[in-house]
């Protein structure tokens, strides 16, 4: 990106911010498959609107379309933040329908699910480049965070200058290791939580207000 393009983008961001100060910020919930993105999206939506965003499942790629929950108002320390939550499909560089056969699916269903999953990942990448104002990056704290998808996505988010909150999910599980996530991405603050059990959601909401307000 050259100087003029950078300046134009910077000016555009500032003017957009001025004229759209009251517009809800679109916050994309990103991360690898099965990190608990939809569980978190549902937790936030239920806590502040009473509705859910979408179905949760232990089968990878349950979310195969980006789903938006609009006008979620979060109040923190006398401050009100309005966001649109965008729950995105888990990002990966590979999808093999055979992996779904292990989850009691026949070949036809597995192939359809894999095709929808690939479309969903492509859509999620497009949203990230074009349509989100901030990112909540969800990681499963029981798994190794040093994966290429995590490295690339964090790099893409940083290159777009998007505010990003890293959440170490699944702290209710005994294998949870929040520190290894903090070590993998030392340039970002890591917030531990269990979206399933609702643990540490107070801090998550405080950080959402701080990062995206």
């Amino acid at each position: 990106m050259g100087l003029l393009t950078s300046l134009r983008d910077s000016i555009s961001r500032v003017t957009d911010g001025l004229f759209a100060a009251d517009e809800p910020k679109r916050i994309g919930i990103y991360g690898p498959p099965n990190a608990g993105k939809t569980t978190l999206a549902n937790r936030i939506a239920r806590d502040w609107t009473g509705d859910a965003v979408g179905p949760e499942s232990h089968i990878p790629h349950e979310t195969r379309r980006a789903r938006r929950k609009e006008n979620v108002e979060i109040e923190r320390n006398g401050r009100k933040v309005t966001i649109d939550i965008v729950d995105t499909p888990g990002v990966t560089t590979k999808v093999d329908y055979k992996e779904f056969l292990d989850h009691d699916m026949d070949k036809e269903d597995a192939v359809r699910r894999s095709r929808e999953a690939t479309e969903g990942v492509a859509e999620a990448m497009h949203w990230l480049r074009e349509d989100v104002d901030g990112v909540i990056y969800v990681l499963d704290s029981t798994t190794d965070p040093f994966t290429q998808v995590n490295t690339m996505l964090i790099g893409i988010i940083e290159s777009q200058d998007l505010p990003a909150l890293i959440l170490a999910n699944k702290t209710d599980l005994p294998e949870s290791d929040v520190q290894q996530i903090a070590n993998a991405f030392p340039q970002h603050e890591t917030i531990p939580l269990s979206a399933l059990e609702g643990e540490n959601m107070d801090e998550v909401y405080t950080k959402i207000a701080e990062y995206f307000g």
Binding site: M1, L3, T92, K94, S114, V121, A122, Q148, I156
Partner: protein, 135 residues
């Protein structure tokens, strides 16, 4: 296509006996557009080759690579890619002026291969260990 890797012909395909590795220099990638780079990579990978980029891709190009890869996955034919690079160094090492001028450093050795032939055994900040299988 400007940056296409040359075909290796001449009778039996040598890739039948082993794994072909294309090591692409930064100079070769320099004049290519984002889509030309992505095509160069994916065309090689879809033929079963391992592609090593001396200088890697920009974050935006990596994003597009994922997107295009997803559109090309098809059952029993192509299941996607495995890609490995070292984590990006601390962004503090890049000056504000560099970023303002678009001089984003993308210099990171990158290995890309077919998902069904390359498996990462270990990865940390300083070491990437992968297992490459034959067809």
């Amino acid at each position: 296509m400007p940056g296409a890797a040359p075909d290796v012909d001449g009778g039996d395909d040598p890739a039948d006996d082993g794994v072909r590795i294309d090591m692409i220099s930064g100079a070769r990638m320099e004049g290519l557009t984002s889509m030309e780079k992505i095509r160069l990579i994916l065309d090689g990978v879809r033929e079963g080759n391992i592609v090593i980029l001396e200088e890697g891709l920009s974050p935006d190009e990596e994003s597009k690579l994922i997107e295009v890869t997803m559109t090309e996955i098809s059952p029993d034919d192509f299941t996607g890619i495995e890609i490995e690079t070292y984590p990006k160094p601390d962004s503090g090492s890049q000056s504000f002026l560099d970023r303002l001028m678009g001089r984003e450093s993308t210099q990171k050795l990158t290995v890309i291969g077919p998902a069904n032939r390359i498996e990462t055994l270990h990865k940390d900040e300083n070491l990437i260990s992968t297992l490459v299988s034959r067809k």
